[in-house]
């Protein structure tokens, strides 16, 4: 049974029915892999930029 402290006062969720979240089973792993892959490419670009800066410096 709910505590009496919860009765007769406004809620914090806006008073509308809460929308059900779509199932995401299996998606999280895909996203994690994708984010990692994108992170790797960013790292590669950073390395390329550093290489070009080094080349210019030693030219």
């Amino acid at each position: 049974m709910l505590s009496r402290d919860r009765v007769g006062r406004p809620g914090v969720l806006g008073g509308r029915p809460v929308a059900r979240t779509a199932a995401v089973a299996g998606t999280a792993a895909v996203v994690t892999r994708g984010v990692r892959r994108r992170g790797d490419r960013r790292e590669d670009r950073r390395d390329d930029g550093q290489d070009r800066r080094d080349e210019r410096r030693f030219r």
């Binding site: 049974m1 709910l2 505590s3 402290d5 919860r6 009765v7 007769g8 006062r9 406004p10 809620g11 914090v12 969720l13 806006g14 008073g15 509308r16 029915p17 809460v18 929308a19 059900r20 779509a22 995401v24 998606t27 999280a28 895909v30 996203v31 994708g34 984010v35 892959r37 994108r38």
Partner: protein, 154 residues
């Protein structure tokens, strides 16, 4: 929770985790992970309720202390932090999302980790103008599009 607490409060989120009535299990791994987050000061549990939705669609709410240690396990250790934020009206709102014949845990927590950053923003004269959560489906779609573009060599 007083005005000073609210001023120092991090963002507050909630989740509703639903189980078929015959497979409800609030102890074990789930409780352990949550307790670890509490212990590390990442989150502070503000409310915890158990809801049951009967096959006829009626919804009943239960306080965490109505359940035994076996059922709620380590979640009970967070009970002292409960601020009892949710009202009966919220139970009705959440109940609308539940499948008939299911049991759900409703957890409200403060993202404690974000509070110092929020204070720093305010002290620096900044203010929050927008925040939100990006649906994981949208992330998947963006990454999928990224892969397609890469494969096409665009």
């Amino acid at each position: 929770m007083n005005d000073e607490d609210v001023d120092e409060l991090g963002p507050v989120d909630y989740v509703v985790v639903e189980f078929p009535a015959d497979r409800a299990n609030f102890s074990g791994e789930m409780a352990k992970e949550l307790s670890a987050l509490v212990d590390r000061g990442v989150v502070r549990v503000l409310d915890l309720l158990i809801l049951k939705k009967d096959l006829d669609g009626s919804v009943e709410g239960f306080e965490s202390h109505e359940f035994g240690d076996d059922e709620l396990g380590e979640l009970r250790t967070a009970e002292t932090e409960l601020a009892m934020l949710l009202a009966e009206e919220d139970v009705e709102s959440i109940g609308a999302a539940l499948e008939p014949g299911s049991v759900a845990a409703v957890l409200v927590w403060e993202n404690v980790w974000a509070a110092p950053f929020g204070s720093a923003v305010r002290r620096s004269g900044g203010q929050l103008v927008a925040s939100g959560r990006i649906p994981i489906q949208a992330l998947a779609a963006a990454l999928e599009a990224d892969v397609s573009t890469t494969e096409e060599g665009v």
